[in-house]
């Protein structure tokens, strides 16, 4: 029987072959190559040195972090409002809300960029409308700036964040709001002092996912700006598939920087969650 049991390990083989071939080995090679100079030679930190001294890369890191932070903050705020509302209304309204969120969450990349070009591009429908109706903020809207990018990013953050948060809001116990009311607390006091603090770990966790999602987003920004707007994923890709010579070492180092930013973000939020948990006892 035991020999037969080990025979079943063969069934694991296809999975590990695919994972090794298309995930683990290529990703490890990115890490290794980031420490090798593109001109050939042995171990070096020169790729990292380039990233932290060349203005283009500094700016792309700055832009990426800025847009990711802004869009994640706005996204999480709207998602908290949305998930709280969905938790409250239940029934058919919630079902159609969830359906739309699910649908829109699949709607990113090229189609999203195109829709925003139609809406708010230089010849956009809303821009024309703003001109005609005298709404300056619409007429003068600049889609091809970091502000415009943030607006597009916020759009795809909202459904993702709301879908991630709704289950956590639904897990809140009804007894808590009832006890809060019995003790004379108002509705808003319950949310401020009980529900939101209890949900804080989930909110922070979702924030991390949003941040990583925005940091890695590539199709949307590429469709709108090509490679003109320095962002980390754009620079990474252009080091591998650029018209000029490919530079896997530099691209690898940029990839490592990007993954490190995400790792730092997750670590920070974990520390924050731990600190918060000292004050609030969590539900069983």
């Amino acid at each position: 029987m035991t020999r037969k049991k080990y025979g079943y390990l063969l069934a694991l083989l296809p999975f590990f072959v695919v994972a090794l071939m298309y995930e683990i080995i290529p990703l490890s090679m990115v890490l290794i190559k980031s420490f090798l100079p593109d001109e050939g030679g042995s171990f070096t930190l020169v790729n990292y040195k380039i990233i932290f001294t060349k203005l283009l890369y500094q700016r792309s890191i700055y832009n990426s972090m800025k847009i990711s932070l802004i869009s994640s903050l706005a996204g999480i705020l709207i998602a908290v409002i949305g998930a709280k509302a969905a938790h409250a209304i239940k029934g058919r309204g919630k079902v159609s809300f969830m359906l739309i969120l699910n649908m829109v969450s699949n709607f990113a990349g090229i189609p999203l960029a195109f829709a925003y070009m139609i809406l708010l591009g230089n010849e956009g429908v809303l821009v024309h409308m703003g001109h005609y109706l005298g709404i300056a903020s619409l007429e003068k809207f600049q889609l091809y700036t970091s502000f415009g990018m943030s607006i597009v990013y916020i759009y795809f953050q909202i459904p993702l964040a709301t879908l991630l948060l709704i289950p956590s809001f639904d897990a809140l116990k009804k007894e808590w709001s009832e006890s809060a009311q019995l003790l004379g607390g108002t509705h808003s006091l319950y949310w401020r002092k009980i529900a939101i603090p209890v949900l804080m770990p989930e909110i922070l966790g979702t924030f991390c996912i949003l941040f990583a999602n925005a940091l890695a987003a590539y199709a949307t920004v590429y469709a709108l700006m090509m490679s003109d707007f320095p962002l980390l994923p754009v620079e990474i890709a252009s080091n591998y598939v650029g018209e000029i010579q490919t530079r896997p070492g530099l691209g690898g180092a940029l990839s490592v920087v990007m993954m490190s930013i995400i790792a730092v973000m997750i670590t920070l939020s974990n520390i924050l969650i731990k600190k918060l948990q000292k004050g609030v006892s969590r539900r069983g």
Binding site: S96, G109, I110, V241
Partner: protein, 269 residues
């Protein structure tokens, strides 16, 4: 209490409208020739006519479908086999498999595609074929979704009991797995396959980085056309939107049914 509920409804309405505006406006845009004032002018479906009479569009649709089927089939089989062995014989491996399956979720498209590209581009055999690379990349990028669905499905049924009774009745391990377990989690598999389809269908990063524009799927087709003909492109957009909506609606209703099914099972116990 009712008053707060009213406010919550208004919030939901605002968010839904905000999310639907880009879709709705692009849809209307696709059906008119001119929209430079408040209202669109000159109703016409010429954009759709142009799209449907374009052979390149037809090819793009076929390419998109083919590129969905192969990676989803491969990943379904390998994840099923791996999780089956882990659940029944080596529970210790579950965590390990989960870790491998979740890596693509945090890495995402750009890094994964460039890593595969730079690793295989110079090997000069079947693996340096761009479509082969794309296939492999799709298999990996959908791993988190396939894993989660199949894992949840296997968790919901009592695998070891089912396996034991099947084997007591004389079925071999693999036979029992494919004839007893797989049919029981068919809905979960189907839902994850649909989710994966949505991912591959919406992909642009992998296909662009790995094949350039050589493999013109729906997304590349839209990208090429949106620079030259915005009305035709908006028609393509609406078609993509409809397909996405169908996939989502299917996932949504299947998931709902699945949930009801599980509740019933639990109720019977």
């Amino acid at each position: 209490m009712d008053k707060t509920k009213k406010y919550e409804r208004i919030w939901i309405l605002i968010i839904m409208i905000y999310l639907l505006i880009p879709l709705a406006i692009t849809m209307v845009y696709s059906m008119f020739q001119k929209w430079t004032k408040v209202l669109p002018e000159k109703f016409s479906l010429s954009g759709y006519g142009a799209v449907f009479s374009d052979k390149l569009f037809l090819y793009a649709v076929i390419r998109s479908i083919v590129m969905c089927i192969i990676p989803i089939a491969v990943t379904t089989v390998i994840v099923l086999l791996a999780l089956f062995v882990a659940f029944v014989y080596f529970p210790g491996l579950k965590k390990f498999i989960q870790m491998i399956c979740m890596i693509p979720y945090s890495i995402q498209g750009v890094i994964l595609s460039v890593s595969i590209l730079s690793f295989y581009v110079s090997v000069n055999n079947i693996f340096s074929n761009r479509y082969m690379m794309l296939c492999g990349a799709y298999c990996v990028i959908i791993l988190p979704y396939m894993f989660q669905g199949i894992y949840n499905g296997m968790n919901a049924i009592e695998m070891s009991t089912l396996m034991e009774s099947a084997q007591m009745l004389g079925a071999g391990g693999m036979y029992a797995f494919f004839r007893v377990i797989v049919p029981n989690i068919a809905t979960s598999i189907f839902v994850s396959a649909l989710l994966a389809m949505g991912i591959i269908f919406g992909d642009y990063v992998l296909v662009r980085n790995l094949t350039g524009t050589a493999f013109e799927n729906m997304q590349i087709y839209l990208y090429q056309i949106m620079k030259t003909d915005s009305v035709k492109a908006s028609a393509v957009f609406v078609i993509i939107m409809m397909i996405t909506f169908c996939i989502t609606a299917a996932v949504f209703s299947l998931k709902g049914k699945e949930r009801i099914g599980h509740h019933k099972k639990r109720g019977r116990k």
